[in-house]
Amino acid sequence: MTDISATSTIRSTAPSKAAIRRKGSTGRGRLPVLLLFLPPALLLFTLFVILPMGEAAWYSLYKWSGYGAPTDFVGLRNFQVLFNNTAFLTSLKNNALIVVVSIIVQIPLAIWLSTMLANKIAGVVLFRLIFFLPYVLAEVAAGLIWRFVYDGDYGLFASLAHLFGVETPYVLADKDLAIYAVLAVIVWKYFGFHMMLFIAGLQSLDKSVLEAAEIDGATGWQKFRYVTLPLLASTLRLSVFFAIVGSLQLFDLIMPLTGGGPFNSTQTMVTFLYNFGVTRMQVGLGSAVGVVLFVICVTLAFGYKRIFMRND
């Protein structure tokens, strides 16, 4: 034990000396390097990230169809229209719902599966592959497949309903059910990804702690609740973070499934942007959605990192 720590201190001091030396020598040589390597990255970042963001903020103050240059300045009216639009409010609610379902269904499911699949037992790789497969599938393909599964005339749901002799539910055409059908697909599509995160987290756990708990006579549940879960906390926080980001970006799975319908019941913020901003040629309104989305993203990302991921 002491041996290892001793060598590691030696190792850590040696390069730091070298670093100091190098720092001194590169003081002069730094400028050419900066001039050579910074501009391309900076230019690309400005051109494709900063500039469009600024442009969106600018357009959001105009009523603009997307043709020619924006001239019709309307101040903050686009934002006013936006927050009075029931479809937009539904989309905000749906985004929140997706995060909630991720936390109470998807992540527990992923943890449960990962505790079984993190061990070295026969066939484990196969099962990991099976559960991870939906995540590998392209979103649009997954959406189309599920549209067919849900189809009430020729789909899997229709066959199942026939088998049990009940009337076929047309889940994607029902404004109260459609969002749950979509949520089911989201859980199916992404639980494998979260599962992989947890498997990685579990495999890096210090086994000796678990052994100690076992010697102390902890039951299976106690081991999980008081040892495994606290040690997985950083992975859990990361997983929730991905769920939030995924919810805010959700678009390509929804479009082939429902396109945001029926009656805008399955809109997310991004599908709302597309349906109301792009297809209706209301680029100003669309940009306003973009600005709201940006503000939410930035607040959440930084807020979450600050509050929950401070120590990670």
């Binding site: 009523k63 169809s65 997307g66 043709y67 020619g68 309307v74 229209v81 009430g152 005339d153 076929t168 047309y170 994607l172 055409a173 029902d174 404004k175 459609a178 429902t258 396109g259 319908g261 029926p262 009656f263 597309y274 792009v278 297809t279 209706r280 040629m281 209301q282 680029v283």
Partner: protein
């Protein structure tokens, strides 16, 4: 004779093109001087048979004009509408593309995305212009500018499955009024047959019902007033009444199960597979239902009947008023002169007659009507010839933002989600917002 007119039109068009602003002329000249010019043609035709006819015309043209390549590009209907604004302003813009005319075309023209065809059309005593049905040219003219090349005329009407109607004991010829129609729907439903195939997922097929009812109830006066922001606009009692009648239809639950999620091709398939007795569709529904049938054949031609949208008792509109398309080819600003040349060829009477013969279109070119042989298409053409008021699709005529609200509201009303009065108010709100 027709060919002579065509050739003269082409020549006139070419000289006209050269007299456009020098900068443009130089640019275009440079483009045409290149060994190979590619004309990019964007369409949304689903029927492979129809596309083949176009391809043949394009091939013939290519053979006559070495160095010109006609490239056909396809986009699905909804994707097309969504993608067009971005596409038009990119360097990848098509040279000419499908248009429904109306407010969308007007807006595209007003913002300078399109080529003004007035000079080309009017050159040589208006030879090119005269080769088209005057109503078509008029419908495509905004602020004195001819904005697109007329392609076809169309009208929306009911198509029905004769066998299913007979089974339910309904006589299509007896459906004269909206009340008759509702009674027929009830009778078909009672016979255990789905009365109507409807595409609530795409919404616009449902807006035909609302549009026709508004036309039958209010007539041209009410709609034109609303469109121009006069009087009560869309809050007019006639418009609200149309909504109430649509809600009445919705209460009978006339559509196939799950229609709120159904796309248009799926819905055509429902009709084609004999799973619904009626469909309110375009003039070429007969051909389209075949393409989307489960067995690839669909209903036999003699099993399909057609009747006009019924009248409304006491309504201001006539039963001879028609709702339908006026489709055209809009030319983008940067299109090479070859694009116009090809368009003139594509839409000359000979080629339009060919398309009409295939049951594809009701031609917009003068002298091509005699090509229509399909009986159902002929009926539609006759109805159009006797029209007392031909109205373009509401969602196209009112422009993209109001048009989409009309579609939303139509589906909302028929499914009982929106009260007819609120629906009318929502459209008026959207209209006023659009005008601000």
């Amino acid at each position: 004779m027709l060919q002579i007119v065509g050739v003269r039109a082409l020549r006139g068009k070419r000289t006209a093109m050269l007299t456009v602003s020098t900068g443009l002329a130089v640019l275009l000249g440079a483009a045409s001087a290149m060994a190979d010019t590619t004309v990019k043609w964007l369409h949304l035709e689903l029927d492979p048979g129809y596309v083949a006819i176009w391809r043949k015309i394009a091939d013939t043209y290519e053979a006559k004009h070495p160095g010109v390549k006609i490239q056909m590009q396809f986009l699905e209907n909804e994707a097309f509408k969504a993608k067009l604004p971005t596409l038009l302003q990119s360097s990848d813009a098509p040279d000419f593309f499908y248009s429904w005319g109306g407010g969308v075309l007007k807006q595209q023209m007003a913002t300078g995305a399109l080529l003004d065809l007035t000079t080309a059309m009017k050159a040589n005593d208006g030879a090119w212009q005269k080769s088209f049905n005057p109503a078509a040219i008029e419908g495509l003219t905004f602020d004195g500018k001819i904005s697109a090349v007329p392609f076809k005329l169309g009208t929306v009407s009911f198509f029905y499955n004769k066998a299913l109607f007979a089974k339910a004991g309904v006589d299509a010829a007896a459906i004269k009024t909206w009340d008759d129609y509702l009674a027929a729907v009830k009778k078909i439903k009672d016979a255990g047959i789905v009365p109507i195939a409807g595409a609530g997922g795409e919404k616009w097929p449902i807006h035909f019902y609302w549009s026709y009812l508004v036309m039958r109830d209010g007539g041209q006066k009410v709609f034109d007033a609303a469109k121009n922001g006069k009087g009560d606009g869309f809050n007019d009692p006639a418009v609200v009444k149309a909504g109430e009648q649509l809600a009445e239809l919705g209460k009978l639950q006339p559509f196939q199960p799950g229609y709120l999620g159904a796309t248009w091709p799926q819905t055509l398939g429902v009709f084609a597979d004999g799973k619904a007795a009626m469909i309110l569709g375009f003039e070429n529904t007969e051909g389209n239902q075949k393409t989307n049938a489960g067995d690839g054949k669909g209903l036999a031609s003699d099993n399909i009947g057609r009747f006009a949208f019924p009248a409304v008792t006491g309504g201001a509109g006539a039963v001879t008023d028609t709702l339908g398309g006026l489709n055209a080819w809009a030319v983008s600003k940067k299109a090479p002169p070859e694009a116009l040349d090809f368009l003139a060829y594509l839409n000359n009477a000979d080629n339009q007659r060919q398309m009409a013969k295939a049951g594809m279109i009701i031609p917009a070119a003068v002298g091509a009507e005699d090509g229509i042989t399909n009986p159902l298409l002929k009926q539609a053409a006759e109805q159009l010839a006797q029209t007392t008021w031909h109205q373009n699709f509401f969602d196209q005529d009112l422009g993209p933002s109001v048009g989409r609200v009309v579609n939303d509201v139509s589906v909302g009303i028929v499914s009982g989600q929106i009260a007819p009065k609120d629906g009318a108010a929502q459209i008026q709100d959207a209209f006023e917002q659009d005008q601000l």
